[in-house]
Subunit: 529 residues, 2 copies
Amino acid sequence: MNGARSLLSALVAHGVDVCFANPGTSEMHFVAGLDAVPQMRGVLTLFEGVATGAADGYARMADRPACVLLHLGPGLGNGLANLHNARRAHVPMVVVVGDHATYHKKYDAPLESDIDAVARTVSGWVRRTLDTGDIAVDVAAAVAAGRAGVVSTLILPADVSWTDSEPAERSLRSDHVPDPFPTPAAAAVVDDDAVRDAVAALDSGAATVLLIGGDATRDAGLSAAARIAEATGARVLCETFPTRLRRGAGVPAIERLAYFAEAAEEQLAGAEHLILAGAASPVSFFAYPGRPSDLVPAGCEVHTLATHSGATAALEALADELGGDTVVPVAPLRRPEMPTGALTAFSTAAAIGALLPEDAVIVDESNTAGIGVAAATAGAPAHDVLTLTGGAIGYGMPAAIGAAIAAPGRPVLSLQADGSAMYTLSALWTQAREQLDVTTVILNNGAYDILRIELQRVGAADDAPAGPQAQRLLDLGSPTIDFVKIAEGMGVPARRATTAEELAAALTAAFAEPGPHLIEVVLPSLVSG
Amino acid sequence: MNGARSLLSALVAHGVDVCFANPGTSEMHFVAGLDAVPQMRGVLTLFEGVATGAADGYARMADRPACVLLHLGPGLGNGLANLHNARRAHVPMVVVVGDHATYHKKYDAPLESDIDAVARTVSGWVRRTLDTGDIAVDVAAAVAAGRAGVVSTLILPADVSWTDSEPAERSLRSDHVPDPFPTPAAAAVVDDDAVRDAVAALDSGAATVLLIGGDATRDAGLSAAARIAEATGARVLCETFPTRLRRGAGVPAIERLAYFAEAAEEQLAGAEHLILAGAASPVSFFAYPGRPSDLVPAGCEVHTLATHSGATAALEALADELGGDTVVPVAPLRRPEMPTGALTAFSTAAAIGALLPEDAVIVDESNTAGIGVAAATAGAPAHDVLTLTGGAIGYGMPAAIGAAIAAPGRPVLSLQADGSAMYTLSALWTQAREQLDVTTVILNNGAYDILRIELQRVGAADDAPAGPQAQRLLDLGSPTIDFVKIAEGMGVPARRATTAEELAAALTAAFAEPGPHLIEVVLPSLVSG
């Protein structure tokens, strides 16, 4: 068995059985090995950023890592932005980067580059396998590291891939091999001192905000947080960009910390205690002249109850400690009325709220144009939302691939702003190739609206209004991007909606028919360009 | 004047007056400054890899660097593959990466990452400007480094961008500021010992190959190399992927070293001396089991006459030393006959050779499907060819943008394989936005044909033919990609050609009308899938 097959077998043995791939010559033995290891599902992507984003969406929904197969340093570079998003959210992933044969590197062939240095900037674990006999051990370590919430990167030289491995004994010589099948991460150890500290803050009578994130944004964590709020009157907020948020009818409702720092400051105003459960202490997404980076109100005491992976357990311990009712209020089923007439960001959101299917997964990269979606879907059937955790755009359409593969029975709604859609467009082709049940709604306002807003907020237009050269760099309307044609060009059926009635008809049809669909919603810009 | 305007003014003062930009919030002051520095042309790209590839194509044709504006670490990551290609070819470029405000970095906001580490892997010069007053000096150093043939990366924190600078004296305090306007790189110093060594090899009577590259693949270098060949009988070859190769009618013809190592070995077989002028010693692009990486024949002595930037001067000195006629044979004007009937890779190439306009720039990322283009255009009107110097695909359509902007009077022909076209597709939108005279020919064979070939060559299919899972990862035909729709979706007029007659009509129309056009050529795969 050559190294590539050892690798595939070891990945499958450790529960990694989907590989999002964009291979090249140095990965041909991996590709050829797929037929010998049929448990591994290879999914072709036409750009590496699609592969890494898909693996992120997959892991968020499957709760276990997928593999990503990339070609040398440039392939890793193309995948870097979505690896950044995964890193920021502690999403597990096993990235295999093929490299030149060990003996070939010294010749500095055209594709030679410093893979290790780039990998270290996004990976919690990096290893270069130099001997075929080490593959099984290295895969075990990579998966174990990934399961702890990091991007693991295994660099695999071509000759290690094509060389036959030693007998199986050697592969198993290490005692570092974890369980052959993935299990949920071991129950987090709750820090009793941190719980007592939180109880004291909550019992003090002072205004307290509980900010949750990490693993606490699913049913169990939300319920525990809601119990705490019921028992103490504390205000509960969720981090701005949760990795996977459960919400909708029957789920305890939670307010997200606002993206714009001014709004977040208002949400946090008056807090004397801030308890962090899985969330980082709130900071401004960007710096703005004359405004604070740290959003914790002056004089507010910050308490860290738990970090990202132990937040639910800690919240449950805290809720138990506080006692009180275990039945908490949940959002009622209450959909918006179907809007009519010309579409705006808000009527688009209302149509989505009115028609969202049961148990959907929303991948949200709608940015400014999605401003109304949270409110409009608050009472829709319960669903999961995946958000842009690291701010690197081009995440949504790839992540929708992974979510659909991880949750094959669930409809995926990919809400996508026009500007960010242009980064990883070929995700649509993979959605068509795999016939995934993804409905993409492109919110096309013909502009980088967020930047039109930020241009004002950073004071760049204070001396004089931005001139035509500046405006031209924020305008996407000249020429107009026709997402219907682009989608059809990649094999995804598509239609355009300019009225609420057209959008309702398009959403209804897309949700009713399996496979991918795209709906382009033509919206006015929120800001004059 | 704030830091952003200082930056723009300094760039313009040093002859950098085109900026390929994909900005974000931290770059808003740069964007707002464009109207105050109208000498700088801002060109919006919708993905960072388009910006970096455009800057590469620009510098190859303008012989001076463009600026690239990127947004934080993920923006740099998205631009990395084409920065790799530029690095490998010693193409100058000034990359400005906006970063968080200096005081904001410690808060580890979502977009925080190690920009410096990533930048160092592709840049010959990296500096982080921490004081607005240093901007003019840092820009001078960045441009000077770039002009020496590297990617220069200047990391610009948002607060340095928005803070008002000190009086102008400070900006000019350094004596490191180069000439305000770019001049060709100083005449390279010719190594007389290396010339004498080459003369001895050429006079020895032993079989000698002269391998040229770097700056020697334009008229002067090619003429000098041809004189040497005429005087000595040496065989002249050009590196496999020249940065900018002049060829066609009236230019000394030169054979490129083959991509496949077996073919390159045949070209070099029997050589007893190999003289390198601007080219690296030949190595296999990838390693293959049982085949050598080093392509220099056993016993052949390698002589380095010059490196990339001094190759023309050294060749001229060598030619003068050898004496002989200064009139060298050049390629005659001889176009192929117009083909007819169904299209193949070869008839497509013949149509291109028959119709190529005067003084065109060919950006060649046609890969396997372009197999016939070199022969078919050998006698076409003289033209320049830009090639994929670093092997990172997704280069061609962005580079065509830069070439068209750098050489506005010249038609650009962008030959693009289907697989690599999918990496940086949104380049088409920028071609439409800027109304660039680029004719893109997509060679759509529905497959990663190069990988179908490499799968065999690396021996991955030796034990058994590649199975359906493997073949599926090399197939682009399911679903079929419709490049006509995709191009139209981005504002580029497009048509499809399935016969030579249709291709001739489409090429004729595209070359006759200014502005961008795309022609999709539907080809059979070279290899059965």
